[in-house]
Amino acid sequence: MSTVIVVFIALAAAAALLMAFHAPWTRSREGKMLGFLALFLLPVAAMWGGLSEHMERAESTQFCLSCHVMEDYGHSLYVDDPSYIPAAHFQNNRVARDSACYTCHTDYAMFGTVRAKLRGLRHLQVQYFGTIPKPADIKLYEPYNNRECLHCHQGARKFEAASPHNKNPGLLESIKSNQKSCLSSGCHDIVHDVGSLKDATFWKPGK
C-alpha cells in the first residue's frame, strides 16, 4: 500500500509542476481539463492518501517508540520475565509485534480509534512543543479497562477455565464487568514497570 501511495503522490507532484510550467495549456478545453485533474483532483486524492498512510503508520510500534521518552517502554517489551504482561504478550505474539502499543492502548469502544488518534496528536504536541515528562512519570489517562484485555481473552479456554479466575464464585463475572481490574487488583500488576528495568534481564529474539 505504501509504495502505491508514494508513486501516486510522486505522479501528482509531477502533474502539478507540469501545469505550473505550462500554464498557457489551460487556454484550450483539453488543457482546462488537464488543469482540473492536475491542480484539484490529483492533489486532493494524494493528500487524502498520504494522510491515510500516515495515520496507519502512526499505529506501528516503530512510530510509538521513535520518541526518546518511550525508549524504556520499548525495552520493557523485551524483559525476560513472563510476569511482565506487555513483555509476555509481545514476545509470544499474543499481539502483533508491529502494532503492539496500539493494540493494547486503544479503547475497543465505538470511538476508540478516534480517541487514540486525538491522544496521539496531544502526544505530538507535548513531544515537539511542550515539556516532556520522565518515562516513569507517564501515566494512563484513565485506569486500564478490562475491556481491552477481554477483546482478545474473552471466550478463550485458557482465560475462562483458569483456576485463578474461578477461585471465587462470581470472580469471572466481576472481571468481565470491569469491577475487578486485571491490572490493578494485585493479579497482573507488573506492566511496563520502567523504573526497575536496570535490574532486569532481556530476551534477545532468535536466541
Binding site: I5, A13, A16, A20, P24, P43, S60
Partner: protein, 64 residues
C-alpha cells in the same frame, strides 16, 4: 508567449501544490512522528493553499 493574470495564478497554484506534494513525498520516506508533523503542518497547508488558489483563479476568471 505572454502569460495572462489567470495563468500566473495557475502557475503559482501549481508550484504550491507541487512543493506541498514533494514535501509529502519526503515525509513518506520514514516512519517517525516528525514526518507526520511535517506532513500535517507544512505539506497539507501548501497543497490546500495551491488548490484554493487554483479554484479562486477559476472563479476570478469568470468575473474578469
Amino acid at each position: 508567449m505572454e502569460i495572462t493574470p489567470i495563468e500566473s495564478r495557475i502557475r503559482l497554484a501549481g508550484l504550491l501544490i507541487g512543493a506541498g506534494l514533494l514535501l509529502a513525498l519526503a515525509t513518506m520516506l520514514q516512519i517517525h512522528p516528525l514526518a507526520f508533523v511535517t506532513f500535517a503542518v507544512l505539506g497539507c497547508p501548501l497543497i490546500c493553499a495551491g488548490v484554493a488558489l487554483y479554484l479562486w483563479s477559476l472563479v476570478a476568471a469568470k468575473r474578469e
